[in-house]
Structure formats: C-alpha cells, structure tokens
Amino acid sequence: MWKEIREREFGKLRPNLFTSSVSKHRLSSIQLSNSKEIISSHRASINSLQVDLTEGRYLLAGASDATVAVYDVQRASDYEGGGLIAKHKSVLLINKQHEHGHKYPVSSAIWYPIDTGLFITGSYDHHINVWDTNTTQVVMNFKMPGKVYRTAMSSLARSHMLIAAGTEDVQVRLCDIASGAFSHTLSGHRDGVMSLEWSTSSEWVLITGGCDGAIRFWDIRRAGCFRVLDQSHSQFGRRPPLLVRPSTNKKSSSAGQSSCAKVRAPHKKLNGNALKSQVKTAKQRLHPGMISSLDRATGHYGVITGLKVTDDGMYLLSAGSDSRLRLWDIESGCNTLVNFETTRLQSSKSIQMALSQDSALAFVPCMTTAKAFDMWSGQTRWTFRGHYENINCCWYNALDQELYTAGNDRQILVWSPSKLNFDEVDEWRNGQAAVTDQDNWSD
C-alpha cells in the first residue's frame, strides 16, 4: 500500500492506475458491512435503488408501499454501540399521505442525471412523477397508458431531457421534461417493456427489453428500431473474430463474412444496418421496421427482466426469466456465449443489476442472494448472503466501492470493503467494542 503511494508520488505510477488498483483491492474484500446500516423506512418490498450520479452520496429507493426515500450514505444520522454502528436514516420520505404521492407501488425511482435537484418516479398507478428534491413537490406528471415498469434517463445526454418509460403497454414512450409531453412513441415490442437502458456511448441510443423476449435498440432520431438481438446469433470471445469461422449459427454462416467485414466500419449505425442487410440479398436501405423474420428474434426465452450496459458502452448484460444471463457485444449484436453460473433468477419482477467500475464484475440478484460474476468468464466470484427474501435491485457505488442491495424483505443492505490495515485508528476504537466478541470458553 505504502509502496504504491510512494510510486505514485514519484510518478512511476499514474494516478488513475493507482486509484483503480486501490479500488480494485478494496472491492476484493467486499462483505456485509457491520458498521453501516441503512434504516429502511419502507414497509414493503423495495424495487429500485440508485445513488445519485453527481455526488455519489444520496441513495434513492422506491418501494412497493408507494414510498420513495432518500438516504445519505456518507453521513450517518446517528450511531449505536459506542460509534460502532452508523445508522443512516432517510433524509427524505414520500409516502401515500403526500398529496402528490403515488397510490400504488413505485417500480422505479431515478435521479435526474445532472444534479440532485430532481428525481423521477414511476409507479404502477400509471403515473410518472418528476419531483423537486428540495421542496418535495411534483413539478411534472406524465400519465402513462399502463403500469410503469421502469424509467431511465440518459446520463450523457446534453441535447435532450427525455425520460424513457417501459410500461405494460407495447409502446415505449419518451417523456420530455422540457416540454412536459411525450416526444416519442416507440412501437415494435409485442408485449410490455420491463427493462430499458440508455446507451452509455451515444445519447441517442435506447435499449429496451420486453416481455416478449426481444431486446431492441432504438435510435431516437429515426423511426423504428434498428436492431433486435438474437440469442442464436453468437460469437466466441469478447470481440468478433477477425477471421472467417464457421459459426454455429446456420442462418448466418454465409453472412458471417460480411458482418465481420462491417464490424470494423467506424459508424455504429451503419453497422447496424449492415447486420440487417445480411439477410436481404438486395443492397437496398432497410426500413427500420425490418423484415419480420429478423424482427421476431429473441434475446431470451421469456421476459427480459434486466438490462445493463457497461460503462464503455461496448457490452450489454441482459437477464431473462429463463434464468440466464447473456453478455452481448453491442457493436456486432452477437451473443458472446459467456456462461454465467446462475442458479435461478427472479422471473416475475424486473431486476436491477450493477457493474463494477471497470466492468470486471457484474452484481446480479439471484433470488435471495446477490452474486458477483466475473464479467468475462462468467464465474461466480462471491455470493452475498444476507437477505431473507428475494433481492430486486442492487447498485454499486463506485466512489466508495460499496454495494447496496434491497429486496422483498424491506431491507437495504450495505456491502462494503472490510477495513484496511492502515485504518488503525478505527481498529483501535473498534477494539474496545470487540472485547465482548471474544472466545469465552468457560470449561
């Protein structure tokens, strides 16, 4: 540790490498935190967790009892056990008694990506509310055609303020905060949309996963979806092979060549089109609606319950009600065939997955446990046991290397790195409290 610091001081080690190595080291010792406890104010299952993207300090949680709460994860509200246990009470709580509060379960609660002045909640009562954090008043309200399953805002959008909403309805709607109206209606799914994500590389690209098992890519500047992921369309390894290889997929055996050639094309959008053109012999520009055979491709058997894009925007992790996790290469649109050792995934509710900072680890709620998978090998690194009922959502706080999980047992658990060696002061303080926790052999 000290050696690394000295090396950084001497300039042998680059600051970002140093940070990443420290955070990686900390992440490797992550476990259920005894010293940090979030006092959940919810009386029903928690469906959504998000730490704000600006400060990394305020945890927003939405629960089935129509409550939304904000917790300060850095400053504890009070301590217990001689300062051993820090308790974080909610700094803000909105429940049914609030005049504009939701009537039915809150399925999704997200921060406005630019600052913590706004947050957005979607609920089963068909409404999406935009809240002012400081006054806890609804500043905008969108009435949706059905239950809202998931909402998303692009974290890198500079030219739009759109809330993408997946609902019971087959159409995905984009709600514009600037105008207070629906700006887009994206139709293509044949069933409700349970999960959706904005691309982390382009502010115009939206990825949605529906109950029909399809994962669709949308460019919001154009009509229609431009890609549907096909689980049978796969590649070995992280990147598409440079050489032509006989693919396991019989459909694309002849098309493999062209797709590979096109993969290297710089424009992603073009690439997408190229993918579709592989089916058509004619070189005509394909209508975004695409032909039906391609349009019917599925990413999973069953419902797509969760989607997560890596930070670099190159890969997409998807979870389905068929209890599979799939890692997709976004650029080629291929299933990378990483075998994740999942046991079972929740199938009735959408789950919220999390990725570590450098996308090396994926945190996935697997029924009552959360598992950390190695992203590239699919092996289970750790299993987090602590919840007594199904986990619905997890969030990784890259700033503190902490993982937050919440589920049907109403608890929000904090998983944090165990204390490092140089935290001697802390150790000292804990030492006194730990006296009670000693071997006690009376005989």
Binding site: L32, G81, G386, H387, Y388, Q411, T436, D437, N440
Partner: protein, 632 residues
Amino acid sequence: MEMEEDMEKLVVVGLIEKATNSTAAEVDPRLLKAIKSVVRFSESELRYATQTLMSLMKRDHSQVRYLSLLIIDELFMRSKLFRTLLVENLDLLLSLSVGFRRNHPLPAPASVATAMRSKAIEFLEKWNESFGIQYRQLRLGYDYLKNNLRFQFPNLQANAARIQQERRTREMRTKEILLKKFEFLRANISSIKEEIQVTIDEIVECLDILVKKDEDISLALDDEEMEEFRNAELRQIRHDSLREGEKVHENSENEVVFDALREMYKVLVTKHLAAIQEWTSVLIRVEVEDNSFKNSTLKDLIDIKNLIHMTKRKCEELGCDLSKIANSEEEDMWEDGTVEISEKGKSALICSKSNDHSATTSNDVRDSRCNNNLSNGNKKKNTDNSGSELNPLRSKLFAEAPVLNWGSSMDNWGSNRDVLANQRGLDLDSHWGRVDYDAVIPSEKIAELNVHASVYKEDPVEIQPCRAPLRNGGLCQRRDLKICPFHGLIISRDDDGKPIHQSPLERETSSPQNRTEDSTPEMDNATAEQLLKQAVKNVRERERVETKMKDSDKRALKRAKLAKVREHNESVMRDAALATTWRSAHIGEGIEIGNESRSSAKAKKQTLSSMLKKKGTVKDRLSRRLLNSRAC
C-alpha cells in the same frame, strides 16, 4: 500430517454424530464437554464441527436438528470463529430450525419440531442480545423474524429489565413517601409526644384514684390476718385471693372514673400505640443523611412505647377487662341494629351487678324501658293465648285451614263490597278531564280480579339408587328416575341386590302354565297386551344382539386387515429408516435374527427412526394379538 488431520476430523465428527443420535431432549453433557474440549484447541476441528453441524441441520429429522441446534448454541456462545463461520449461513440455519419458509417446513416428529422452533427463536434472541452488535447478520435475522414475519420472541431480557424498572420505581415511590412521613414526624414529634403524655398522665391519675380507695382496706386486712396463715401453700392461696380482692371492681361510685379510664385506654391502644408502631417502622426504613435526629427520635419512640405498654399492663392488672369493654363499645358504635340489645344486656348486667336498686336515673330509665319491652312481648303472647283459649272453634278452624302465601288477593278476602274506583291514591284534579268520583267496581268484578293464584310446588321425591349387583361386589349407586341405563328398570332390591319381588309380568313369563290356570279373562286382556309388547321387545333385542355380533365380527376382520397393512408399512418404513439412520446395521441384524425376538428388540432401544414411526394405539395392539392368536 494429513492422516493426523483426518483422524482429528473423525474425532469431532464422530462425537457430534454420536451426540445427535439420541432420542433424549438434551445433549449428553459428557459428549458435549468432549466436543467442546476437542474444538477448543483446534481451528480445523472447529471448522469441521461447523460443517458437520450444518449438514446435520439439513437432516430430515427434527430430533437430529434439535440436538445439533443445542450444540450450535453451546459453541456459538463460546467461540468467535464459530460465530463468524456460522453467521455466513445464518439464513439457512434459521430456515432449517425455525422453518419459516413455506416450501421447507420442519420435518417429522412434530412435537420436537415445535420445541426446536421455540428454542431457535429463543437462541436467536439471546445471540442477538449478546453479539448482535458485532454481527449484522444476527441483527438482520432477528429483525426479519420479528418485524417481517412477526414471530413472538420470548423477550426475556426486556421483560427482566422491565420488571427491574418497575421495582425500582416502586422503591423510589415508597422511599419518597417515607421521607415525607419522616419530615412530618420531624415537624410534629413534640406535639405527638405531648399528646401521648397527656393521655398517659390522665390514665395514671385515674388509676391512682381507683387504687387509693381500695388500698387502705386491703392493707389493713393483710396486716391483721398475716399470722394466721403460716402454711406456705395456704398463704399462697390467701395471697391470690387477696390479690383478687385487690382488684378494683366497678361500682356505682367509681363508674365515672372507669368510664374515663376506658375511654383513655381505648385511645391509648388504638390510636397512640398504633401510631407509635407506625412511626417506628417509618424511622427504621427511612434513609436520611443525619442519623442523629433519627436515632434520638427512635429512642424516644421506644421509650414512649414502653411507657404505653406499662400503663396498659397496669390498667389490665387493675382487673377490669378493658379490652373486652372497648370491643363491645366499638360494636356499639358501628352496629346500629344491635345497640338496643347490647344496651339491654348491659342494663340487665348492671341491674344484677348493682346490689342496691337506688342507682342513677339513667339506669332506672333503662330498666323501665326494658321492663316495658318485656311486658309488651308478654302481652302479645297473652292476647294470642287468650284468643285460643276463648274460641275453641276458631282454633279448630285454624288447625285445619290451609296455609296460603300472602298476596294482594288477601286484601279483599271474603269481602263482597263494591269498591269505589276513583277514590284511592293520588287525588289528581281532572287531570285527563272530568272524573267520575262515584264510579264503582262491583264486588263480583273484584272477586274475579282476586282469583287466588298459587304456584304448584312439587314434593321432593327421593330418587332411589339402582342397587343392581355389580361385578366388583358392590351395588350400583346410580340414581335414575325410572330406568338405569345399565341395569334396566329400577326395582326394589334387597341388600345383595336381588330383586325383592318380581314384577307380575316377569312372574308370568317365567311360569306360563300358572298364568293360564289362574288368570281371569279381564286380566288376560291386559296381560296379553303386555305380553305382546314383551314379545316384540324380545325379538328386537335378539336381532340387535345378532347385528352387534356381526358388526363386531366385521370390525375384527377389518382390524386384522388394517393390522396387516400396517405391519407391511412398518416393515417398509423400518427398512427405509434403517437405510438412512446411523446404527442401522445393528438394528437390521436384530430384526433378521428371528421374528420371535422382534418384540424384545423393539423394546430394547428407542431409536430415531422409531420416533418417526406412528405409535401403535391400544386397538392396534389388540388386533395384532387377535391376529396372532388366529394364526396359531
């Protein structure tokens, strides 16, 4: 090295398995001690123990789980490493021991399962109390069971704390009250003392007055006749009698003094003595900084108490039974109803006591009154007597007249006057309009209205006991009105329970030839009917018995069949259990040795698998025996 480790592993694993393979409600303390001592000195042992215990918890038998849980608790309270290993899988442990997951209920012996659940909850609470602060998992589990699943925790600690708290507050309150009393005492001690002193002084004065009057006579007597009684015994008797004589008797002269004395005595005993006692207890219990006042006051109080006792004794020595009088006076005060009687009694007592009748006026008045009363009573009696003497006819009528309960109908008994309808009770001036004051209810109407109603009263009937002879030699003591459910009609029987005289019907049935001879035709009709009935009854009876027999036969058959099935099931289950349980080979051999020794083998050892088996009821056993006998 590895070999050695394997050996060690075997030690602790074997110990644990041995400890859990028992049907007892407790872990064998020696085995437990052995496990603890083995585990204490070796981490690897502890790890193995944890693994073994967790795998035992997964066993599909509540008894094994229960014993494992007990061992887990023992180790959990002692070893830190064990705790850290265990809390990793706490949710699993809880679901296995509490069984809160619906799809994983607790396994078979239900009684053990419930015991285990309560025990597990208790343990969780204990663990949470002592180690919850170090282990988030414990807190989580406790919280989950308590708040989400709403399990009732025994809450031992909290209860104890609450009781402690209550006791403390009560003590505080009593202390406060004591302190207040003490302050009051400190303020008022002098006045209290004075009051008591005054009373005592008065008593002493009274006593002085009484004693002085008698002293001269008794002393004189003493001096004169001292020499005559030489004998010690005689002298003793003499002395006693003298002392008796010394006792001042109440008479008309000193009555006033006695009254005052009595009053004072009462005040002294009931008020002052009790007060002094209370104050003393207050002083003893109270806790104050300066003990000087407390001690001095206490001393004073004790002195006063002694003084009071002395005075009391003096009063009692004086001979007048003051305490009794005080009591009677108290009665007078509270029981108004008895005042007259007691006063009467007293007056009579006084009358007899006082030698000369020239007493005070009050006495006279009382006497006269009591005399009056007496004479009144006598007069009444006399009138009655005289009436009976005067009118023999009337007395005769009295003797045979029925006794009627009093009722409103008695008002107008025998009168045949018309009654004015509007001339009784309130005179309301034409409240509802004009009133006809001369309206009359004719006498026959009155008579109609006054029909005497009387409630039928049943004469108490003594229900005779059945007295049919019982098998154990006694007589049936059931009391039924007519028919004993066990012995039929209740008839009069002699001391042995034999019927004294048979009913005519029975006699007839027993001797039909007699009947034909001496029966008259009229009789015949009646008896024929009876006979018919009897015959029908007999036939019915026989039928019933037959059906019963058949039923019982059928039941026996069924039972036999069931027993067969059960035996088969048992053997299958035994096989299955043998395949899973420890010690299986041993029991299997026992069974295979011979069928005749099976019962003894069964009786020999109660095993875990036997706990799972259904216990045979008495019926089963009987049927089995029946089956066996048939087979023979």
